[in-house]
C-alpha cells in the first residue's frame, strides 16, 4: 500500500475511534448549541438588524389636538433607517413619569417638555427633532405656505449618518475575541488528545505491533492528521452554525471582509495545530504513563497560554506595534494573526510574512518531532530525556 494510504488509514482510525465516543458527539452538539446561542445573543440584548425601536408616550388629555397629531406623525418618520418609534397616548404627566421610570416607555412628551431616563439617550434627540419639526411645520403654515409647499420644505433630505467607526469596530472586536477563544480552546483540547493518544499506544503496547508494519513517521502523521481533521471539522461546524444563525436571524451585522478573515483564521489554525500538536506528540512520546502526560506537555500548554493572553492584547488593539509584531512571530501568530485580520485591516505583506514564518516553524517542529518520536516511542518504562531521544537511534528503521 502507498505510504499515503497507510497514513490515511491511521488517521481514519483516529477519527472513527473518537467519533465512536458518545462524549465526543454530545460535546460537539453542546458546543454548536452554545455557538448558536452566542450568535443569537445580540438580538436579545438590543440592537439587531430589525433596528432599534423606542416607545414614546404623548400626554393627551381628551381628543388629540392637531399639534399632537402632527407630532405623532413626525415621530413616526423621524427615526429613519433602522430606528422605529411606537407612539402611545398617556393620560397624565405623572403617569408618563412613572412609565418612563419603570422602563415601560423610553420617553414621554408633555407639551414642550420631554421626560426620559437620561438626557443623552438617542430617543431624546429623536423626540426633540420631532417636536422641532412639528413646531417648524406649524410656523410655516402660519406663515401662509400651502401644504404642498410645506411638504416640499420638510422633504429636504437630512444628511444620513453612517456610524461605521463605532459599531463596525465593536463588531469586529467581538468576532476577534470569539475567534481567539475558539481557536485556543480547540488547540489546547486537541493537543492534549494528541498527547494522550500517543501515550495510550505506548501504555497499551500496541505501538510495537503497529511499528512492525508502518514507519514511525506514518504513525505520527496519521495521528496528527486524524485528530487535526476532527479539530478543524468541529471548528468549521461551529463557524458554519454561527454564521448561519447570524445570517438567518439577522441578529448581527457582519462587518465587511468577515468571511475572508474567518477563512484566514482556518489556515492559521491548521498551521498552529501542526506546530503545537507535533510538539505535543514528541513530548508525550517521552513518557509511558497517562499520569505523566500533563507534566511532560507543560511546555505546550505554557506556550499556548502565553500565546492566548498575547492574542487577547491584540484583540484590544489590533493595529498597535505590539499587535503587528505578535501577528508575525510564530507560534503566537497562530492566534494573534487571526485576531488581527478579524479585528481590522492588516497589510498584505504582514499576512504573507506571518504565513511564511508559521509554515517554516511548523515544518521545523514537525521534523524535530518526527525524530524524537521515532526514537522514544518504543522505549517503555522511565521517562526518556529529550536529548537522548534526539540522539537516539530510530526504532523499526528498516529500508
Amino acid at each position: 500500500m502507498a505510504a499515503g494510504g497507510i497514513v490515511w488509514l491511521i488517521a481514519k482510525r483516529e477519527i472513527d475511534s473518537r467519533w465512536a465516543q458518545k462524549g465526543f458527539r454530545w460535546g460537539t452538539l453542546v458546543f454548536l448549541v452554545v455557538i448558536a446561542a452566542t450568535a443569537l445573543l445580540p438580538k436579545f440584548i438590543g440592537g439587531g438588524d430589525g433596528g432599534t425601536s423606542y416607545d414614546v408616550g404623548i400626554v393627551t388629555q381628551g381628543p388629540a389636538s392637531p399639534e399632537q397629531a402632527a407630532l405623532r406623525k413626525a415621530l413616526g418618520s423621524v427615526g429613519g433607517e433602522g430606528v422605529s418609534i411606537d407612539v402611545t397616548d398617556i393620560a397624565s404627566a405623572g403617569d408618563g413619569r412613572d412609565k418612563v421610570r419603570d422602563n415601560d416607555l423610553d420617553a414621554v412628551v408633555d407639551g414642550n417638555r420631554i421626560m426620559a431616563r437620561s438626557g443623552t439617550d438617542q430617543v431624546v434627540g429623536l423626540v426633540q427633532a420631532a417636536v422641532a419639526a412639528t413646531t417648524f411645520e406649524a410656523a410655516l403654515r402660519e406663515a401662509g405656505l400651502s401644504d404642498a409647499e410645506i411638504a416640499g420644505v420638510l422633504a429636504t433630505p437630512a444628511p444620513t449618518v453612517d456610524a461605521i467607526e463605532a459599531s463596525d469596530k465593536d463588531a469586529r472586536r467581538g468576532i476577534a475575541t470569539v475567534t481567539v477563544v475558539l481557536l485556543f480552546a480547540q488547540l489546547i483540547g486537541y493537543c492534549s488528545w494528541v498527547g494522550l493518544g500517543v501515550v495510550e499506544e505506548k501504555t497499551s503496547r500496541v505501538v510495537e505491533l503497529i511499528l512492525a508494519t508502518v514507519r514511525p513517521w506514518q504513525l505520527l502523521l496519521g495521528k496528527l492528521l486524524g485528530i487535526g481533521v476532527l479539530a478543524v471539522g468541529q471548528l468549521v461546524a461551529m463557524g458554519a452554525v454561527g454564521l448561519a444563525v447570524i445570517k438567518v436571524s439577522g441578529s448581527f451585522e457582519l462587518p465587511d471582509g468577515a468571511y475572508s478573515a474567518i477563512g484566514v483564521s482556518f489556515v492559521w489554525f491548521v498551521l498552529g495545530f501542526a506546530f503545537f500538536a507535533a510538539m505535543s506528540a514528541a513530548l508525550a512520546s517521552l513518557v509511558s504513563r497517562q499520569e505523566e502526560v500533563s507534566g511532560v506537555m507543560l511546555p505546550v500548554t505554557a506556550t499556548l497560554m502565553v500565546s492566548y493572553f498575547l492574542a487577547f492584547a491584540v484583540t484590544a488593539s489590533s493595529d498597535g506595534t505590539l499587535a503587528q509584531v505578535l501577528g508575525i512571530v510564530p507560534p503566537v501568530s497562530s492566534l494573534a494573526m487571526p485576531a488581527r485580520v478579524v479585528g481590522g485591516d492588516v497589510p498584505a505583506w504582514q499576512i504573507a510574512l506571518s504565513l511564511v514564518l508559521l509554515v517554516l516553524s511548523a515544518a521545523l517542529v514537525l521534523a524535530i518531532a518526527a525524530r524524537v518520536y521515532r526514537a522514544a516511542v518504543l522505549h517503555s518504562g522511565s521517562r526518556v530525556k529529550l536529548r537522548e531521544a534526539w540522539r537516539g537511534e530510530a526504532a523499526a528503521s528498516l529500508d
Binding site: I6, S204, R205, E208, L209, A212, L398, D399
Partner: protein
C-alpha cells in the same frame, strides 16, 4: 527463509546478545527457550526489525530484511498490545489493512479468525471487556490475519488455559502445514517438545544448543537404554563390559553405555536373563536436556 546471523546487542553496559544466530525454514516450527532475560525477546525484536542490532544481520529469503518483506511477517510481541477501547473484529481488520488488505477482505478474515480461534465474545465487543485468555487469542488473530509467511511469537502460550493452549497449538500446526515459518519462545518445555521441529536454547545472550530434539540428545553424548526384563537376576548385566545400571524404578532399569554400539550385546544379555518386556533408547525429555545444557554452560 529467516536467517539471523551473529547478532550482537548491548544496552548500556549489559550485553544482551552475543553472537546469536538461528534459522527458521518454511513449514518449520522453531522453539526458542531460555530463562528470563536470556535474550529471546531481544532476538525476536531484532528479527522483526523493531530493534536494530549493534552488529550482525537478519536475512529473509537470502536478502537483508526490508520494510516491505517485514510486512509479510506476523508478530506477537512480548508485551501484548492492542487498542483496549476498540472492537475486536474492527481491530483485527485494521491490522489486516495496515498489512495491505482491503477493508472488506480484512473484515472477512477477522470474522473467520475469531471463529477459528474460538474467541468467546461478540465481534463488536471492546478488547478490554474480554478475559485475558480471549485477549490473547485476539492478539494471535491480529498476527495471523494477513496470512504471514513468517510468524514471530513471543511467549504465545503464557496466560492461556489448557483449552487455549490446545487451540493455539492447533493453529500453529495448521500454519506450519500451510508452509509458514514459525519461531516462538516459551517456558513450557513440554509444549516446545511436542510442537517444535527444532529447538534453540539461549543463555545470557549466547546460544548454547540448537537442533532437533534428536540432535540435542545426541549432542549430549549420553547413551542410555531403558530396559525392563522380567525375572532377571541381579547382576545380569555383568557380562557386558562398558554397560552399567544407572538407575532403577518400577522394574525399568536405565542402563548407561560407554559406547552406543553395545546396545545389541545388552539386548542379548537381557534375553538370556529373562523375559524382555521393553527395550529402547531413553528419550531425554527437553526439560532435562535444557537443565543439563544450562548447568553445563554455567
Amino acid at each position: 527463509m529467516l536467517q539471523v546471523d551473529q547478532l550482537r546487542k548491548t544496552f548500556g553496559s549489559v550485553t544482551a546478545l552475543d553472537d546469536v544466530s538461528l534459522e527458521v525454514r518454511a513449514g518449520e516450527i522453531v522453539g526458542f527457550v531460555g530463562s528470563n532475560g536470556a535474550g529471546k525477546s531481544t532476538t525476536m525484536r531484532i528479527a522483526m526489525g523493531v530493534l536494530s542490532p549493534d552488529s550482525g544481520q537478519v536475512r529473509w529469503r537470502g536478502k537483508s530484511l526490508t520494510f516491505e518483506a517485514r510486512r509479510r511477517f506476523g508478530y506477537m510481541p512480548e508485551q501484548r498490545g492492542l487498542y483496549p477501547k476498540m472492537g475486536i473484529r474492527d481491530q483485527i481488520a485494521y491490522f489486516a489493512q495496515l498489512h495491505g488488505m482491503s477493508a472488506s477482505d480484512g473484515t472477512a478474515a477477522a470474522t473467520r479468525l475469531l471463529e477459528q480461534m474460538q474467541v468467546e465474545a461478540e465481534p463488536t465487543a471492546l478488547l478490554q471487556a474480554l478475559s485475558l485468555g480471549n485477549q490473547q487469542r485476539v492478539q494471535l488473530a491480529a498476527a495471523l490475519v494477513h496470512r504471514p509467511e513468517l510468524l514471530i511469537l513471543d511467549e504465545p502460550f503464557s496466560g492461556l488455559d489448557p483449552l487455549g493452549v490446545d487451540t493455539m497449538a492447533q493453529v500453529l500446526r495448521q500454519c506450519c502445514a500451510d508452509g509458514v515459518a514459525v519461531l516462538f519462545s516459551s517456558h513450557q518445555l513440554e509444549l516446545v517438545e511436542r510442537l517444535c521441529d527444532r529447538i534453540t536454547i539461549i543463555r545470557s545472550g549466547r546460544l548454547i544448543a540448537s537442533g532437533t530434539l534428536e540432535e540435542l540428545r545426541a549432542a549430549k553424548g549420553e547413551h542410555q537404554l531403558q530396559v525392563r526384563v522380567d525375572g532377571a537376576p541381579d547382576g545380569w548385566l555383568a557380562g557386558v563390559p562398558g554397560a552399567s545400571i544407572a538407575s532403577s524404578a518400577d522394574g525399568v532399569q536405565t542402563i548407561e553405555l560407554a559406547d552406543p554400539q553395545l546396545d545389541q550385546q545388552v539386548l542379548a544379555a537381557a534375553a538370556q536373563a529373562g523375559r524382555v518386556v521393553s527395550f529402547g533408547w531413553r528419550a531425554q525429555p527437553l526439560s532435562q536436556l535444557y537443565r543439563d545444557a544450562i548447568a553445563e554452560a554455567a
